[in-house]
C-alpha cells in the first residue's frame, strides 16, 4: 500500500474531515459573544472571512503535502508521517485561520533598510516565537498531532515511547519552521517601497522627463484608485501647469476652472465610494502594491523628476487622485446601508433600537493605515510643492485643487465621525463602553471624542492629520478668510473649517 492510499484510509476510518470541519466552523463563524464589536487596541479590526471551500482545499493540501513530507524525510513508519500531516494542518488552522491571521497586518512590521533587516527578522521571530510558546496554542499544535498519531502505534512500549519523543521533536521543528517562513513572507510584503520608479522598469528606458513623469502619474493614479478609467479622466482633466498659472489672475476663468475641478473631484469621489462599498475582490498583489505606494508617497523625501513644470503637473494629478481617494473613502464609510438579516438579529439581542441601526461598514487595519498614508501624502505633497515654487503654493498649480482638498478632507472627517458614532452605539448597547458625564450636543461630542481616543487611536491620528492639512491649506489670513466664505464649500464644511481654524 502506498502512503497516499494509507493516508486516505486513515482519514476515512477516523472521520477526520468531520472533526476539521467542526473546528473550522467554530473558528470562522462569528459566535454570539464576538458578533458585537469589541475593540481593545488599535490593531484589531474586521476582516473578510476566507471562502470555506478554499479553506477545506487548503487543509487537504496541507495534510497531503505534510504526509508526503513525513514519508520522504523520515522513514520511521506511518506514525511520523501522520504526525507531520497533522502538524501542518494544525499550524495552518492556528497560525492562519485563528485570530484572522490570514489578513496581512502591515502595521505589525516596520520598514527596514540594509543591515538591520536580517537582525530585525531574527528579533521579530524570536519575540513572536516566545510569545507563541507561552500561549496554549503552541502546546495544542504539538500535542494534538502526537496524540492523534498514538492511535497508529506499532511495536512494543519502548519503541512507542521512542517514536513518540521523535514525533514531538519533529512536530515542534516543523511548527517552528512554518512559523518562521510565514512571518518572513509577511515581513517582506509589509516593507515600504523606497523608490517608486524602481517599480516601473519601463521608466528606465524612457529618456525625457515628460514621459517619465506622465508614465509615473498614470501608474500611481491607476495603482491608488484601482481604476484606469478614473485615472485617465484625472490626467486628461488636469491642465498643464503653464496654462493654470496664466489663469490665476483671470479671476472669472480661474474660479470657473476651480469650480469645475471641485465638481469633478466630488463626482469621482462618489464613483470611487461605490467601488469601496461593493468590496471588490482585488488580488492580494494589487492591495499590497497600493498600500506600499501610498506609504512611499507619504515619505518626506518623495520627489520625482527634474522639470519643475512637469513636476507640478505630476503633483497636481497625484493630489487630485488622493483627494478622490480620501473623499471616496469618507463617503463610503459614512453612507448608511440597510442592515442584513444577520445584523438585525444581533441588534435585537443588543439594546439598540431599530431606528438607531448603525451603518454596516467595517474597517480593517490595512484600510485604516492606507487612508492615514493618503492624508499624510496630501500633507507631504503640499509642503513639497510649496518648497518647489518658493512662493506660497497658493499661487501655484495646486491652488486649483484647494476646494477639492478641503471638501475631501471634510468628507473623510465626517465619515470617520459617522463610523465611530455607529461603533460607539453598538458598544454602548452591549455595555462595553459607558457614556461619560455631559448632556446635549457637546456631551455627545465629548463622548464620541473619548470613544475615538480610547478605541480607535489610529483614526484619531487620521483626524489630527486632516486638521493639520486643512490648517496648512488655509494658512495665511487672506486665504483663511477666503475659504471661510467660499461659495463652493457647503455650510457643513464651513462649520468644520471654522471649528478647526478658531
Amino acid at each position: 500500500m502506498n502512503p497516499s492510499d494509507s493516508f486516505i484510509n486513515t482519514i476515512t476510518n477516523l472521520s477526520i474531515v468531520d472533526a476539521i470541519q467542526s473546528v473550522l466552523e467554530t473558528i470562522t463563524s462569528p459566535s454570539k459573544d464576538t458578533a458585537i464589536p469589541k475593540q481593545n487596541n488599535a490593531n484589531q479590526g474586521y476582516f473578510k472571512k476566507p471562502v470555506t471551500f478554499i479553506v477545506i482545499l487548503q487543509i487537504g493540501f496541507h495534510a497531503a503535502l505534510g504526509f508526503s513530507f513525513g514519508a520522504i524525510a523520515f522513514s520511521q513508519g506511518k506514525m511520523i508521517s501522520i504526525t507531520t500531516a497533522f502538524t501542518c494542518v494544525m499550524n495552518f488552522i492556528a497560525n492562519v485561520l485563528a485570530n484572522c491571521n490570514h489578513e496581512i497586518d502591515t502595521t505589525k512590521y516596520p520598514s527596514l533598510y540594509g543591515g538591520e533587516f536580517l537582525y530585525y527578522v531574527f528579533l521579530k521571530i524570536k519575540d513572536e516565537t516566545i510569545k507563541s510558546m507561552k500561549s496554549h496554542n503552541m502546546a495544542y499544535q504539538i500535542t494534538a498531532p502526537v496524540l492523534c498519531s498514538l492511535f497508529f502505534q506499532e511495536g512494543d512500549f519502548i519503541s512507542t515511547v521512542k517514536t513518540l519523543l521523535t514525533a514531538i521533536g519533529i512536530s515542534f521543528s516543523i511548527n517552528f519552521f512554518l512559523y518562521i517562513s510565514d512571518t518572513t513572507i509577511r515581513l517582506f510584503l509589509s516593507q515600504k517601497i523606497e523608490k517608486t520608479n524602481a517599480l516601473f522598469p519601463e521608466l528606465s528606458n524612457v529618456t525625457t522627463d515628460l514621459s517619465k513623469n506622465t508614465l509615473m502619474t498614470q501608474f500611481l493614479t491607476r495603482t491608488i484608485l484601482q481604476s484606469s478609467e478614473i485615472g485617465k479622466e484625472i490626467i486628461s482633466y488636469t491642465p498643464p501647469t503653464s496654462s493654470a498659472a496664466a489663469f490665476v489672475n483671470a479671476t472669472n476663468a480661474y474660479s470657473i476652472l476651480q469650480e469645475n475641478h471641485f465638481v469633478h473631484t466630488n463626482q469621482l469621489a462618489g464613483k470611487i465610494s461605490r467601488f469601496f462599498k461593493s468590496a471588490p475582490n482585488l488580488h492580494l498583489a494589487e492591495e499590497i502594491l497600493r498600500i506600499n505606494t501610498l506609504a512611499n508617497l507619504s515619505l518626506p523625501h518623495y520627489a520625482y523628476g527634474t522639470s519643475q513644470e512637469e513636476l507640478m503637473f505630476h503633483f497636481s494629478c497625484i493630489m487630485k487622485t488622493l483627494c478622490v481617494y480620501v473623499g471616496g473613502f469618507g463617503l463610503a464609510i459614512s453612507l448608511p446601508v440597510v442592515p442584513s438579516d444577520y445584523n438585525k438579529r444581533n441588534y435585537h439581542e443588543s439594546k439598540l433600537s431599530k431606528e438607531e441601526d448603525p451603518v454596516e461598514t467595517w474597517l480593517s487595519p490595512s484600510a485604516i493605515l492606507e487612508i492615514e498614508y493618503a492624508v499624510q501624502s496630501i500633507l507631504r505633497l503640499l509642503s513639497g510643492s510649496s518648497k518647489l515654487t518658493k512662493n506660497s503654493y497658493y499661487f501655484s498649480h495646486l491652488h486649483l485643487l484647494i476646494p477639492s482638498m478641503l471638501s475631501s478632507l471634510h468628507l473623510l472627517h465626517k465619515g470617520i465621525h459617522h463610523y465611530c458614532s455607529s461603533q460607539m452605539k453598538i458598544e454602548m448597547g452591549t455595555g462595553n463602553f459607558a457614556m461619560g458625564v455631559g448632556t446635549g450636543v457637546h456631551g455627545k461630542e465629548a463622548n464620541l471624542n473619548r470613544f475615538i481616543a480610547v478605541r480607535h487611536p489610529n483614526l484619531k491620528r487620521i483626524i489630527a492629520a486632516c486638521e493639520d492639512t486643512t490648517k496648512l491649506v488655509t494658512s495665511g489670513e487672506r486665504v483663511e478668510e477666503e475659504w471661510r466664505q467660499s461659495r463652493l464649500l457647503n455650510n457643513e464644511c464651513k462649520v468644520w473649517l471654522n471649528s478647526i481654524l478658531e
Partner: protein, 220 residues
Amino acid sequence: MTTRQQKLNQTLFRTSPYQAKQSTHLQFESRPVMEKNLLIDTHRSTLATSTSASDVSITSLIYFYRRVLSALFMLLSLLTIAPTCCVVVLAALSYMSCGHPAFVAIVTLLVTMFVRSQIVRYAPTKKQAVRALRASKIILPLLCVIASALICRLCVYVGVMNRKIGTSSKNLWSACQTGFYLGTLGLFLNLLVLFRFVGPLAVGECFTSALEQFLSSYII
C-alpha cells in the same frame, strides 16, 4: 490689461511674456472655449492610455512575487548554508585552539558575560553603560574568541592540554550534504507556506476597502 499687469503675471506665475499677455484675453472667453483650451488636453488623453490596467496588474504581480520568493529564497539559502557555515566556523576555532573549540566557546561566553557585567557595574551613568554595551556588541566577543584561542594554544604548547586533530574535510562534505538535505526539506515546507499567499488556494489577504457585507466578515 496694461504692461504692468503682464509683468506682474510674469513675475508671480513664472510665465512667458506670451502667456502673460494671453491671460489678459482669457478673462473674456466663454466657458466652452476655456474648456477647449484647458480642460480637455488631447495630448495627455492620448498619453493616458499608454498605461493600461494590465500593466499595473503585471507590475503588482512582479512586485508581489519578487518579495514572496525572495523571502522564501532567503530562508532556503540560510538552511542550506547554515550547516556548512557551522562546520567552517568550528574548523576555524579548532585550528586556532589546536583542537579545543568547545573550550574556546565556553571561555568566550564566560569572559564576555563577565566584561559586560563589569561595564554595567562601573559605568558612571546608565546612559553611558548602554552606549558602551552597544559599542562592544560585536567587538567584545570577537576579541574574547581570539584571546581564548591564544590561551588555549599557549596551554597546548606548555603541555597542559593535548593537541587534537580532526578530519575537517570529511566534516565539511557531510555538512554540505546535511545542508542540501535540510534545504530540500525546507523547500517542501516552504511550498506549504507559499500556497497560503499565492495560487488558486491562497487565503492570505490585505483588505484595504471599507467592508460592507457583514455576512462575509467576522470579528476578532
